[in-house]
Symmetry: C2
Subunit: 374 residues, 2 copies
């Protein structure tokens, strides 16, 4: 009989997991608090509110599409031996201080940081680290809960809620990520390194393969694999890096799941990150992560469904559109993305720019304003 | 608002159309007589029995996944101006004599044929054409309703139901097909030519790009495009060719729809035949049909769902599995297929052979026996 996979969380990541992997003969159950969550619409079984107990009961394996899910559900699934990956990464991801400390304590390269517990320590952090990013331990995500202190004048922006994570500001040459998949036997396959571009703290577009030195690409892959091994991870893991001009690489953060910067694999690899995650958690053999053609994505952030825009995007060679079908539009919200392929990275960048200007025109700030202005 | 596309027929072709194209923001309604048809399970609206009137009413555009669908539904959809492609090809495909005559009368290369109306004319056909394939005008499909007369001894096999199409037997070097997509404006994109291998009259596996002379590849593409123009076709059209040792190309038949020999495009092209069909019938720009990597498929015919087999198939590098989830297994029935990619055609053939031996072992006849023995 075919396997039943329960997914905690019904956002676009769960939606794409199902759309990419149902072909394997897997049945999908989805839980989300929000009855309008997009993945519920394509699930074989829908569970809302407190019904996650029933989902766990009916699933052979339980996974999550997002690390901020109901912890009671995570714990119950784990107590039945059904949770994949395990709860360690969820626990680490609940708190930025915990995550950064774990990485540092296990020998992974991270920006210098301090834990700040008082207004005096805010000043001390600035004295010691120079330019500082202060982050709220919980809820710093997609640009929220982060405060940049680039000079004295910015100090007033830092909230007086403690503790805060104070991290040295890294003068970034490039931001890249490694998406990998790891089996329960410890086999690991990495996708080609992806180059990421953010706008107001949120991913705007990605390009693969990243244009970095081969040596740098090899190093970030090696670190990502070592992290997956350290976490004894099963499934897809994404590690985001800062690359400095001098070629230093530092882990910014990791995500114990499929990731926006891996959406290009939907077209650019024979087996997408979504299918590979499902394969890994169900103990099926991992699939090819090789690049088929240079590939990228452009996020459609905060934009309503507009057939004319989609028509113009599809007219750019090598594109397709993934619209998530969310019930409501909000500024910065990930409403969909555009997949783009090309014969080389230059052509890919050109097409990416075309798509960006079709989706956002000259007024990207209208759709992707800073989180604190939305 | 997003478009609503009605699909007549709920088999695997409709299923893959939906799974590949929902991301465009399209809503899908499906009609099938059989309430267990696989595409119904993923439709936004399900219509069984006589409810096709309601489907047509609620759809912006109506298409079909298969040419043998309810003709009343086809006619009603067309009378409302909603049917794409038009009914001409359905009418031609209802009758092999009609199809072949249309092709010949419009100057397309086809094997020599005669229309046979009596036992005497059976003999006459054999005298004039030599080795002959007799085909029942209706219902000759996937090897059914075809009778090969290679010598006097085979004459008894030919049924005494008339008319029959008597077609010269072509000594085939290769069978290839061209899958193309045509917009209502007359824009046409062709996928790379595909090489097809049949077993007991049913497609067993395909390889793209076909290993034929470039000149031959160009010629079959040109003929296929000319046929699409002649039919004023909108959507995907597939044309199957015989290629002889001398390089002659003859149309075997065409299918006014997505086709089994184009399933490799699910991974091997940036935009699959399924997505391109949906784009074309909804007047969206056509997507890239370029080959990303050498790609093929192996059909899983008449085999039950077997997790161990799927596991072994997925362990072959470059593979994925598309299982259709049909309610019942029958010999010869298309239960699923395996997608395969590789870095070159030799590696692709090697992987294809591995997959064939995993799926069928040494006893393919058990699953793909001749239709008249099932």
């Amino acid at each position: 009989m075919s396997k039943v996979l329960g997914i905690l969380g019904g956002g676009q990541l769960g939606l794409m997991m199902i759309m990419e992997s149902r072909k394997l003969g897997v049945k999908f159950l989805v839980h989300d608090e929000d009855p309008e969550a997009p993945a519920l619409g394509v699930a074989d079984g829908k569970f809302v509110g407190d019904s996650w107990r029933e989902l766990i009961d009916k699933s052979d394996v339980v996974t999550f599409e997002f690390e901020h899910v109901n912890l009671n559900a995570v714990n119950l699934a784990e107590s039945f031996g059904k949770l994949r990956p395990g709860s360690l990464t969820i626990w680490l991801k609940q708190d930025k201080i915990r995550e950064k400390s774990f990485l540092r304590d296990h020998g992974f390269p991270v920006p210098r940081f301090m834990i700040v517990n008082s207004p005096e320590e805010v000043d001390k952090a600035v004295n010691q680290l120079g330019r500082v990013v202060f982050k709220e331990p919980q809820g710093a995500y997609d640009g929220k809960g982060q405060y940049y202190v680039m000079g004295e004048g910015d100090l007033g922006k830092v909230p007086r809620r403690f503790p805060l994570l104070a991290e040295e500001f890294v003068d970034i040459y490039k931001e890249v990520s490694v998406v990998l998949v790891r089996s329960s036997d410890g086999d690991v396959l990495t996708y080609p390194v992806t180059e990421n571009y953010h706008y107001n703290g949120i991913l705007l577009y990605s390009i693969a393969p990243a244009e970095v030195d081969e040596e740098v690409a090899g190093r970030v892959k090696e670190i990502a694999v070592r992290l997956a091994d350290t976490l004894n991870h099963v499934g897809v893991l994404t590690v985001e890096f800062f690359v400095t001009r001098s070629g230093e690489v530092l882990i910014n953060e990791f995500a114990p799941r499929v990731h926006n910067s891996g959406h290009w694999t939907l077209i650019g690899a024979a087996v997408s990150q979504f299918e590979n995650h499902v394969r890994a958690v169900l103990d099926l053999p991992l699939g090819s992560t090789e690049l088929q053609r240079p590939s990228g994505i452009v996020n459609m952030l905060g934009v309503p469904y507009n057939e004319e825009v989609i028509r113009r995007v599809l007219a750019v060679p090598g594109t397709s559109v993934w619209w998530y079908g969310k019930a409501k539009v909000r500024p910065r919200r990930k409403m969909g993305h555009v997949n783009i392929v090309a014969n080389n990275v230059d052509e890919l960048r050109k097409r990416t720019n075309e798509v960006l200007s079709i989706v956002y025109g000259n007024d990207i700030g209208r759709y992707v304003s800073p989180w604190n202005l939305t």
